[in-house]
Amino acid sequence: MNLKLNTPLSDEKVKKLRAGERIFLSGIVYTARDAAHKRFFEAIKKGLPLPIDLKDQVIFYASPTPPKEGEVIGSIGPTTSARMDLYTPLLLGRGLKGMIGKGPRSKEVQEAIKKHRAIYLIATGGAAAYLAQFVVSSEIACYEDLGPEAILKLRLKDFPLVVAIDSLGKQVFPYRVEL
């Protein structure tokens, strides 16, 4: 089944999705990878507010190449999600509803996804010139000083994804990985 999904997400939208389904995502998502996650984590630990409200939002683990003149965005694809695993349960607790990345997640993240009724989606790793076609706008949202790791606010249009872990905690990966 090919399903269309729009951000922001909600319990209603997420609970219908099942691991292994192909979906096409449209709407706003935020990029964040290693350094931005570390900052989120430190801010939460210190009781400081986050620069973006994560409630019902989707984070895309990515940092694109710079655009050529006239391009909306350079090449953009998912980075390895497991590197963010340490920070993810805390962000899900803050209302984060979806993540886009690649590869399996830890057991803790799988359980947190179930607990918070969230969704983990994967894009094809290393298909960044292809995936860039489904990004219709891009602007810096915050943490500009992180350079290539700054948080971008992207608008997607029918971005091709697979549901990798659904809100019941079921996953698409047909093997076990120790993380």
């Binding site: 190449t65 690649k102 094809t124 298909a127 960044a128 292809y130």
Partner: protein, 281 residues
């Protein structure tokens, strides 16, 4: 002696960085097309079709194949009869990388001071540079940008001679099983065996640069490569880690004499976007 200007080397390195990042190698593209035919898992097959389309779009639009345009490793095989005219060859090489990454809109992924500030150098330098002296009056330059995700999935172990061939195979398969899902499969697996702690990693990296589909000149190694590839492709990790039968496109092994007390093994995994470019001047 033949004189070659340092500036010429800089220009070539700049061009090779761009070529490697925009144009997927013909042998890698052919292996991916073949994988598309072989793969039966529906979602994995779909991922492969996106990977093939991606290479075509990258080529047509001169857009990076992957957003991770990599850490750059450069091999220079310099003929003994070459005089390189420059005050500072390393600086010329760095400059070539820097210009390619800034002017060519490639992503700058290198951070300085890994344990502390992790501040981006903003020009993707420094690369790793390896010089080798060879006979003749030419210079062969190989530029090999490699993504962080697949390099993270690599490993090195000093096995004991008593571990032997079985211990070697066990190590390789366990590491691939553990790490392949995070390294953008289908992979190319480069394996170095022998030498010392420092040289075995370079052996593995060089093994990745051998053309896909080549036959190992050592028949025993050729058979071992085939055996390991078959076992890797039975792990069920598959393209984009979605399951399926094509977890790796190829296994390349390079051996080198080693100490009688040692059996060093390095496993350098490459994602499906195995990118390199080479020139001779």
């Amino acid at each position: 002696m033949r004189a070659i200007e340092g500036k010429e080397i800089k220009e070539r390195i700049k061009a090779l960085c761009l070529e490697a990042n925009f144009f997927l190698r013909a042998d890698v593209f052919a292996a991916l097309r073949e994988a598309q035919v072989q793969e039966e898992n529906k979602l994995a097959k779909l991922a492969l079709s996106e990977i093939v389309k991606n290479a075509q779009i990258a080529r047509e639009q001169k857009k990076p194949i992957c957003q991770d345009t990599g850490h750059v490793t450069i091999f220079l095989e310099v003929g003994n009869e070459v005089h390189i005219v420059t005050d500072d060859l390393k600086m010329e090489i760095n400059q070539g990388v820097s210009e390619a990454y800034i002017e060519g809109n490639l992503r700058k992924s290198i951070v300085t001071d890994p344990l502390f500030s992790r501040k981006n150098t903003l020009n993707n330098t420094p690369p790793s540079i390896y010089f080798e002296n060879v006979p003749g009056e030419k210079i062969k330059i190989t530029v090999f940008p490699k993504g962080g995700g697949s390099d993270n999935a690599s490993s090195l172990k000093m096995l004991k001679p008593s571990d032997g061939l079985d211990g070697f195979k066990k190590f390789v398969l366990e590491e691939v099983k553990k790490n392949a899902p995070f390294a953008c499969p289908p992979l190319v697996v480069g394996i170095g065996v022998g030498g010392s702690f420092d040289s075995v990693g370079i052996l593995a990296k060089k093994a990745l640069l051998e053309p896909l589909g080549r036959v190992n000149q050592d028949k025993k190694l050729q058979r071992l490569e085939e055996e390991i590839l078959k076992e890797i492709n039975q792990l069920g990790i598959g393209p984009n880690a979605l399951g399926g039968k094509v977890t790796a496109l190829a296994v390349h092994i390079r051996c080198f004499p080693t100490h009688m007390a040692s059996l060093p093994v390095a496993l350098n995994l490459s994602c499906h976007a195995l990118r390199s470019a080479r020139t001779i001047l």
